[in-house]
Subunit: 348 residues, 2 copies
């Protein structure tokens, strides 16, 4: 992807030189960061709040395909995917570490783009980059992100504390990232067969962006704070709505009723799914990578929730023995099954 | 390595199944762990202490060679390498996240061994495994560890706070891990040329173990606590003594005098280096991977330090303009230069 430009070999810099070069743009703005990059460990001060930690690996050929993922987007998405886990605890994300392993096929300019994307995400979400590791890899690009955040103990939303009678709610809309991926995969195939054909993604910006440049829902955690809403349970939608609902129900020992007609699906997602011969409901349930928040709140919070444009009530929590069921548009009852995205499937 | 045994394909379990299987042996024992594996993020409680975070990537073909590194040792070492950074801040390590990416050539039994090694390290060092990520990789084995710890603010030892007149001290002995690596590399070459020849590592246990199964220096942080010693500056010896000395001097804006004759080198390291035609002093200065602690203390702490069998005073800190110099056994003065281990060199 850098074939026609002047590029710089990373070996000219060495590891310490590379770290210095990449981190010169890093600013510390978060009050809880005592010491960022530059020592054996970062030093953070969360006073009497609880510390939250989450980590993800993103691997070339498994989690991303560099044939259609721009490097800057990749850096941005790697951060978003990980911050999402902190917001899913109803916490505030405050720092990340960002590690990268890259083979000799990547010039310095490639790493710079990835970092640039990561730093844009950090800046937009008020998160400090406080550490990481940079290494050669024998093959392919490897990104590992750890997110750190904090929360007051009584506001932390676990998966295991949904209660019978709770409203089941989801933010934003679902299935877009998955349908966007189908579009990118189709254009890749067409390009591979005939490189003179330009990709036809016109008018599909929204779902392409849902796949390539997802946003984690910091705004929802802030909305909860502003309206004094404390979810009983929460999880982020990374593997697909069905899989996440089952996680909450299993951990909380409850069941649920989900209404197909309530599922928030963007018209572009709906139409494009149809073009591909896909069921939009299945895309919403099992697509994954939406990075929306799925949560439950007590019914007495209904008045606070009902007018929030970006929150949809999609069902309610029942007792465990009632099972996890979806009521279809035609009124039929189906058990909810997890067909979430599974990194191991891609490797078979 | 599992060719002759019954093995289990990881795909049979899927990602969630694998996580459940691997983490069933995980115990939570550290009081600061509120919530470990099983939610979007781990929840930790460090009260009014500072939180410490460090992270490392370990990549097959760059950081380890599976032709002579047993998987259990690899899991153990991956944890030690990372804990070492927390101890280098004079902090207490309390949790880790452990992420692993592996290609389809690895059966379940291989992952189990890596985890077993990691959990042995956690148990021995009183650290909880509280999270991680598990993924397929397109090629090779990838390990990413993040260590979390805590410290009282006034006890944290940075790199940047060495003072003129400080004693320069190092724990344990140096160069062993590097000479152990030479031995393993030689036996690998012999084996590759003639597989019927068994490796000849007899009597070399100590330096082999320094390479394959290093121990981080939790005991030194405890010794500091017991004797009320607070180092002015500290760093762990991962890239080589010379490189670490230069890190401290650069960050602290000081110089130093180092005495070659004071360098702690184990007799087996010394003799084996000679067998390979290597200068033992160069192995100690530039070998790396010793995971000892290099620190500076004010001169008035001399009485507390001098009788510690596992601490050697190797020099002292000077003003910046005096430079960083080593006085050789013959009395000659040499500038100290970093020729530390550099992951990017291996990929050229």
């Amino acid at each position: 992807m850098f074939d026609n430009k002047e590029t710089t070999d990373i070996n000219q810099l060495g590891e310490f030189g590379l770290i210095d070069y990449l981190t010169k743009a890093v600013e510390i703005t978060e009050p809880s960061t005592v010491m960022g990059i530059g020592d054996d460990a970062a030093v953070l001060d969360f006073k009497n709040k609880k510390t939250l930690i989450s980590t993800d690996l993103l691997l070339e050929g498994i989690h991303f395909d560099l044939r259609y993922v721009p490097l800057k987007h990749l850096g941005y998405k790697a951060v978003q995917v990980n911050l999402s886990d902190i917001y899913a605890m109803n916490g505030r994300a405050s720092q990340i570490t960002f590690s990268i392993g890259l083979s000799s096929k990547f010039p310095l300019e490639a790493v710079e783009e990835i970092y640039e994307g990561a730093l844009i995400a950090c800046k937009k979400y008020n998160v400090d980059l406080v550490g990481g590791d940079t290494s050669a890899s024998a093959q392919g690009l490897i990104i590992s992100v750890t997110s750190i955040g904090f929360a007051e103990n009584e506001k932390i939303a676990y998966r295991s504390t949904a209660k019978e009678g709770d409203l089941l709610c989801v933010t934003g809309d679902l299935g877009g990232a998955y349908v966007g991926l189908q579009l990118l995969e189709r254009e890749k195939q067409i390009f591979l067969e005939n490189p003179s054909i330009q990709p036809d993604l016109e008018g599909k910006d929204y779902i392409i962006e849902r796949q390539l440049k997802p946003e984690s829902r910091k705004d929802i955690v802030e909305l909860f704070e502003a309206y004094n809403i404390i979810p009983n349970a929460m999880i982020d939608v990374s593997d697909g709505l069905a899989s996440e609902i089952l996680h909450i129900c299993k951990a909380s020992k409850v069941g649920c009723k989900l209404y197909e007609e309530k599922l928030p699906i963007d018209p572009m997602t709906y139409e494009t799914a149809r073009e591909f011969g896909l069921d939009p409901t299945v895309c919403a349930l099992s697509g994954g990578e939406d990075y929306e928040l799925l949560f439950t709140v007590p019914q007495d919070q209904y008045d606070k929730i009902k007018n929030q444009l970006d929150i949809t009530i999609i069902g309610y929590i029942t007792e465990e023995n009632a099972g996890c069921e979806m009521i279809s548009k035609s009124g039929h009852v189906h058990p909810i099954t997890a067909q979430g995205w599974n990194a191991f499937k891609n490797n078979q």
